[in-house]
Amino acid sequence: MIIFLRSLLSPKTFSRFAKQCIPWLYAGFAVFFTYGLGGGLVLSPPDYQQGDAFRIIYVHVPCAFLSLLIYLIMATSAGIAAIWKIKLADHITRTSAPIGASFTLLALITGALWGKPMWGTYWIWDARLTSELILLFLYLGYIAAISAFSQQRSAEQVGRIIVLVGAINIPIIHYSVYWWNTLHQGATLSKLAKPSMDAQMLYPLLAMIVAFFLFYLAVLLTRMHRIISSPYANSATTGA
């Protein structure tokens, strides 16, 4: 087992392993997404307060959740790359960034579309919305910074620092609704407390979160497999 895990650290072996995983990940995504979408948009009852408008939660919450989770994964692999100098960890950070940025943008857009009918405004500079916008800038700043270097090595060093320092924003986003007065409501799903959501509405939401996570893994592995196995991407495999 340990030998298998260790061999996974080599980009070539990882790439072969990733290729085998990809179809399963897409299949899992399709199953959870179908259940989540059907259960969320058709089967679950309208909300007592927001009526049918609450259904945007089935896209908004998974996007927002993934935007934080992907950043945590990036920060963890940046830390691993900085300490143990593992090439694969840098690949994970770099490949995750555009996916995380897309989820962050989607979370902001779906939130704005939800905010207009419910709150009465598309945008407000409250702590939750602002810190999520800063997260988008962190993703974009990271992508811009690492593409600005012609030397792979310096790009990855600067990238690791940006990602690690920016990780401070993650607890700020999560706790913003408790630390300050905000228009955004508190968390519905929490690890410790019973979720404040009816079970009929909750299960499709959890399925959507799983589906979006599997989609992220599938896209991540597809892109990593392409980059590592591409004959033109020499700098990507030998640079770090």
Binding site: F54, I83, A127
Partner: protein
């Protein structure tokens, strides 16, 4: 155990992240009143707002306090269950506006009444069928 160089890198990273976290924490603590989106009626009663200042006030619409005037004019009382402030507003109210609902209004105080320019509705984190 851990290779000395790796241990050194780990200590370096942890101390950099910790010191940046402390710095950010201090900044946010210093700016806390600016980051909070609204004042509560109790904060206003304690004199945390200046006279004539345009600010946001957040709280619950008191049950039985909503009076509709001519056209789109509306008058209601905003409360945090310790203090209450009367609010007047002319304009469209968000769909979720109702008695007992959390709202955030922006405006300025005149003679103890808040003249609102904007009314936003808050909703809670609970979702359940009708």
């Amino acid at each position: 155990m851990m290779h000395p160089i790796r241990k050194q890198r780990l200590i370096l990273i942890v101390s950099v992240v910790l010191s940046v976290a402390i710095a950010v924490g201090l900044i946010l603590y210093a700016l806390r009143s600016n980051i909070s989106l609204f004042y509560t009626p109790s904060q206003v009663a304690q004199g945390e707002t200046r006279p004539g200042q345009v600010f946001r006030l957040g709280g619950m619409v008191q049950k039985g306090s909503v009076q509709h005037g001519q056209g789109l004019a509306v008058r209601f009382v905003l409360t945090d269950f310790h203090h209450a402030i009367a609010v007047t507003y002319t304009g469209l109210l968000p769909d979720l506006f109702r008695e007992g609902q959390g709202v955030v209004v922006q405006g300025q105080l005149e003679g103890g009444v808040l003249l609102a320019q904007e009314v936003l509705a808050k909703h809670d984190e609970n979702y359940r069928p009708k």
